[in-house]
């Protein structure tokens, strides 16, 4: 039977040229066991760090040097893209739509190119991890696909805070004031 739930992605991975993790996220529903509803009975195939690392090592050796973009591995469909010295993987179940998974991958890769200023490589990812992590978070939310358009994904990623010194003092006072106002509201709310 087809997957009727929105939970479609098993994992998103970025591995370096030696197969080491740069980013790894294995998705599980947030409140998995609360319901008997079959739609939510999703079991992750890689529950422990060890199984995950074995999976990644095997997957890496099978994919990194090949020019292809899709492979079935360990009962998962894996779509991937090797960009300079890193490989980006999107993993889904065997019943998933291959083209859909690929759409997610290409959207994400496009977004990474934008937020990393066309320099997608290991060094750049590590130095700009905030951009990368945010971009992935805007693409997939615990297994649910949020967006597949690279430009739309990138547009949701904020830049780093800048010119902090001048702003900071002002902000800090404001922050305190806000906190005070907030506390006051709370106190009112409790009818002291």
């Amino acid at each position: 039977m087809s997957n009727l739930s929105l939970y479609t992605i098993t994992a998103a991975l970025i591995l370096d040229s030696e197969g080491k993790r740069i980013y790894a996220n294995y998705y599980t529903p947030i409140h998995p066991n609360a319901s008997n509803d079959q739609t939510f009975q999703i079991q992750t195939p890689f529950p422990t760090l060890k199984t995950q690392e074995t999976f990644e090592a095997g997957l890496f050796s099978k994919t990194f040097k090949s020019k292809s973009s899709i492979v079935l591995y360990e009962d998962q469909i894996v779509v991937y893209k090797v960009i300079s010295d890193v490989a980006v993987y999107i993993v889904g179940s065997l019943k998933e739509n291959e083209a859909m998974l690929y759409q997610v991958l290409s959207g994400l890769c496009e977004a990474l190119e934008i937020v990393l200023k066309d320099a997608v490589d290991k060094k750049s990812i590590q130095e700009n991890y905030d951009f990368v992590a945010l971009a992935i978070d805007e693409t997939i939310d615990d297994g649910i696909i949020l967006e597949t358009d690279g430009n739309a994904i990138a547009s949701r990623v904020s830049k780093r805070p800048s010119s902090e010194n001048t702003l900071n003092i002002e902000l800090n006072e404001r922050g305190l004031f806000n906190a005070f106002q907030f506390a006051k509201k709370k106190v009112k709310g409790f009818n002291f």
């Binding site: 929105l6 360990e74 291959e98 859909m100 130095e127 649910i144 902000l171």
Partner: protein
């Protein structure tokens, strides 16, 4: 280690400092005053990175971090806030007291900046639990109908995450969700006017992802209401569909598939929708709709053909992934209905050399399945040209496919034999060689004509084989098959060469193989073998010497008839033990904790034995049904993909059946009344006599003994508040007379029990032996029921004697199949001709119960419990007639061969059965049993 990493900390951001350093830095930076927003964002990124590569924190440290991070809510920076949410999401699983940030998050959702508002909404789903969700109702409703697609999507996805936990609350915003499905939402003008401006390739006005999320949520809220789902699908399908997001359309397609699965009558109504989508501009939509059409048998062959032509077009798509998906689907269909895929052969052939290895493999294996007898030659030629360029794992897949093809078209064995012997000479690893050798073994076993030349190839192979495991197996086979050939001496030379040249393991098995040749009637041959064996008596290895000595001793003692029978049985057993059962029994024996059980030696006679024919029938069935049961050929990482994987699966199935049979035997032998009946000659499969949902679930297994028929009733009491006592089944038939019932004394609520009813097998008037009679038995479950406390399972009233009750269950047919054991013969036509023609019985039937040819064929095979041979169990695509060949043996050992022609006529399916057997009466019984 830690000083080293500490030093590196300031060198560059690429290197990640150790966990404790990050922890300390985070705590101090987040609690600092004033907070440095940029520094904090970079620190949080490091924290996220640490968690992303698999590190974790103990709960108290995580909680500390969580608490410190929550202080950053006081800082106004939107850029910092966005990553704060990411960090909170990551820490939620391992930290305690996550609820404390709820009010800060809710405040951000109400008044926050549009950049982090969606992040806030999505984080909210992680910190809420069922007791706090209700407070967010208004918030969620507002966000879902928000015209900003990011906000709406975030709220829908969060609701989705929350729905299993608090469905009742989430249901309250079903109306807003419904609205979101139909709404068109566009990105605000400001969406692309931020940071990465010069890098955007374009500015999409909308991707309508909120439709997809809303649809997913709406389904969860409504999925138990079929009519609502039908209505929704109707509104969302067709030309006026409001859906533009391809993922949303895929979702609708999947709902359609669920509807059809539950109610096949909707198939015709929903098909046009699917068909329109097969031409959608998005390839994933085309693929999904084609997949659904092909998944359901309820769609007509014409409809399937339309879906296949969609896939055929997609084989020319530019994207590798699309081709992969299409060829994967075609391959799956080819496993069960190869004839449907034939139209794609041209496209498939162009994919044989595709750079994606998986695609090429799928293309070849599909072609090998769709190949007809005429195209086999050409196909094999094509494959030979590139066998050298591909890797071993890939070769294994191809060889496996060829092996199946060989079994399918035995008459085409010649080119395949040439192919196999060619590749056997190629370089290759053990796995690859092993597969080739296995394929040749299969040929020898199932295609007698190929035996001599295949054996010759194997002989040649062992002359220069680097794998002793393979040499040993081949020697064993030579010993079994060599003496049957016209010119056994040919093989003796090859075997003897092994004794001269190889290591002790190979030498030992060569000695055994040689001794088998001495069993032929040719006395001069026997003499020369004895001479050869003599030489091995001086071998340097004791095992080789022992085996030679034993063989010589046995050979010299076989002067009279009786001892030679024993001898033959010793050197070349006619029966094989069932290995899975042997394994199970031995495990049981050695794992027994009771010391007393070791006093008796292991009883080998408790393991059933099979004759060569029965063995082959089982193997043949396993091998030819592999394709249908195989799910995913290329997924296994060992590359030992597909067919092998499928084979183990079906092997497991047959093993399961075997183990089940063994379990019956064990159970029955425990019962004194039945243990004297002798061995079970045949056990039927489990027949259900009630629906599965009834108060008492009853199934039955028929066991045939030499003079008795025993019904084993498995009864399950599904009630929670009644126990049953003295449970028995009263079975009445015309032919079979009940002897006694072994009732179940007591059946507690929600428990299972087994009872037996024994019948005498009436004698056949002609032979005086128990005959093979069909009968219909009516069954009534009889018991005394008494109410009990569902929690303690004790009766409310000890004095309560309960009341007597009866419960009607379905009738049971005893058919001729219950007396037949499936068997195998390599050449059906020959066997059929061999059986005396005066024992032939012919009859014509109208099989009104089946509407489809395949269904009729299956039911006949089932009723007769014989094996279908020569690939005749599958009906051709849209064929209107079919020829089925079945073979089996009666429990008395008489051979039965049946040739059944099915034709579709105006009045349904008509079958003409021609049955021959060793016994005229038997033929008649079998023919009558078909109807």
């Amino acid at each position: 280690m830690s000083t080293l990493t500490y030093k590196k900390f300031d060198e560059g951001e690429g290197v990640l400092p150790d966990k404790m350093t990050i922890y300390q830095d985070c705590i101090s930076a987040f609690n600092a005053s004033p907070v440095n927003a940029k520094k904090c964002r970079i620190l949080l990124a490091k924290l996220v990175r640490l968690l992303s590569i698999g590190e974790t924190f103990p709960a108290n440290e995580a909680t500390n971090l969580f608490f410190s991070i929550s202080k950053l809510f006081q800082h106004k920076s939107v850029e910092l806030r966005q990553i704060v949410y990411l960090a909170i999401k990551k820490l939620c699983h391992i930290s305690n007291d996550v609820l404390m940030v709820t009010s800060s998050i809710m405040k951000d959702i109400q008044n926050g900046d549009i950049i982090y508002k969606p992040n806030a909404i999505r984080t909210l789903a992680r910190v809420l639990d069922s007791s706090t969700v209700h407070a967010t109702e208004r918030l969620f409703k507002n966000c879902i109908v928000d015209k900003n697609p990011n906000v709406s999507s975030a709220a829908l996805v969060s609701s989705y995450h929350l729905s299993p936990e608090s469905k009742d609350v989430v249901k309250r915003w079903a109306n807003e969700t419904q609205e979101a499905v139909y709404a068109q939402k566009y990105f605000p003008d400001t969406q692309f006017q931020n940071v990465h401006q010069e890098f955007y390739s374009r500015f999409p006005s909308s991707t309508q992802f909120s439709q997809y999320h809303a649809l997913g949520l709406l389904y969860v809220l409504r999925n138990h209401d079929k009519m609502a789902l039908v209505k929704m699908v109707n509104q969302l399908s067709g030309s006026s569909s409001p859906l533009t997001n391809p993922l949303a359309i895929i979702q609708v397609i999947r709902y359609i598939s669920k509807l059809i699965e539950e109610d096949p009558s909707l198939a015709d109504h929903l098909y046009p929708y699917l068909l329109t989508w097969t031409t959608n501009k998005s390839e994933m939509v085309c693929l999904e709709s084609a997949k659904i059409i092909l998944n359901y048998k309820k769609f007509s062959p014409e409809q399937h053909t339309e879906a296949i032509s969609v896939l055929r077009d997609l084989l020319n798509a530019p994207r590798v992934v699309t081709i992969f998906a299409a060829v994967r689907m075609l391959n799956k269909i080819a496993m069960t209905n190869p004839e449907k895929v034939v139209v794609c052969n041209y496209e498939l052939e162009s994919l044989i050399n595709h750079s994606n290895r998986s695609i090429a493999t799928y293309a070849i294996t599909t072609l090998l399945k769709t190949g007809s007898a005429d195209t086999v030659d050409r196909l094999i030629k094509t494959i030979s040209t590139f066998m050298n360029d591909i890797s071993d794992e890939f070769k294994v897949v191809v060889i496996d496919a060829i092996r199946n093809l060989t079994l399918k078209f035995p008459e085409k064995y010649k080119p395949m034999l040439v192919f196999l012997s060619d590749v056997l000479r190629d370089e290759g690893g053990f796995k690859f060689k092993n597969t080739v050798v296995e394929s040749l073994f299969d040929m020898i076993h199932y295609i007698p004509e190929s035996r001599d030349s295949a054996l010759e190839n194997l002989c040649e192979f062992i002359e220069d084989c680097e794998y002793p495991e393979l040499t040993v197996r081949i020697l064993h086979l030579l010993g079994d098959e060599g003496p049957k050939t016209k010119n056994p001496t040919l093989y003796i030379r090859h075997i003897y060469n092994r004794i001269a040249l190889e290591n002790s393991i190979v030498r030992a098995s060569a000695v055994v193989a040689l001794s088998k040749f001495a069993l032929t009637e040719d006395l001069s041959l026997k003499k020369s073998i004895e001479v050869l064996l003599q030489r091995s008596l001086t071998d340097s290895d004791d095992e080789v010497r022992d085996r030679a000595a034993v063989s010589l001793k046995l050979l010299s003692s076989s002067t009279d008839k009786t001892s030679s029978v024993i001898l033959v049985d010793f050197i070349k057993p006619t029966k094989k033990y069932s290995l899975p059962i042997l394994e199970q029994k031995l495990t049981q024996y050695i794992s027994s904790s009771d010391k007393a059980s070791y006093e008796n030696p292991f009883d080998i006679s408790s393991v059933p034995q099979y004759t060569e024919e029965e063995w082959k029938a089982q193997e043949y069935k396993a091998k030819t049904t592999v394709q249908a049961s195989e799910e995913e050929p290329l997924s296994d990482h060992k590359g030992r993909s597909g067919l092998a994987g499928g084979a183990t699966e079906t092997h497991n199935e047959t093993q399961q059946a075997e183990l089940l049979q063994q379990q019956y035997i064990d159970e029955i032998s425990q019962i004194t009344e039945l243990s004297e009946y002798g061995p079970i000659l045949h056990s039927s499969s489990v027949v259900e006599l009630t629906e599965r949902e009834t108060e008492f679930v009853v199934s039955v297994v028929k066991h045939i003994f030499k003079e008795h028929l025993v019904l084993q009733f498995n009864i399950e009491n599904t009630l929670t508040d009644s126990e049953l006592m003295m449970v028995s089944v009263i079975s009445e038939g015309e032919v079979y007379q009940e002897e006694f019932i072994l009732p179940v004394e007591k059946l507690a609520p929600r428990s299972k029990g087994t009872l037996y009813v024994s019948f005498a097998r009436p004698e056949d008037e002609e032979t005086g032996a128990p005959g093979l009679f069909s009968d219909t038995l009516s069954n009534t479950l009889s018991f005394t029921s008494r109410e009990v406390d569902p929690t303690t399972l004790l009766p409310f009233d000890e004095e309560d004697e309960g009341y007597q009750d009866e419960y009607q269950i379905e009738e049971l047919e005893v058919t001729i199949g219950d007396f037949i054991v499936p068997s195998f013969t390599a050449d059906f036509d020959k066997t059929f001709a061999e059986l005396p023609s005066e024992n032939e019985e012919v009859a014509v039937f109208n099989l009104s119960s089946s509407s489809e040819l395949q269904e009729a064929v299956n039911s006949v095979i089932n009723v007769l419990s014989m094996s279908a041979l020569g690939n005749t169990e599958t009906v051709g695509f849209s064929a209107n007639n079919h020829k089925l060949k079945v073979y089996g043996k009666s429990i008395n050992g008489e051979r039965i061969a049946g040739l059944i022609n099915f034709v579709i006529s105006k009045n349904g399916i008509v079958a003409k059965a021609t049955v021959r057997s060793d016994n005229k009466a038997l033929s008649e019984t079998v023919v009558n049993g078909i109807a």
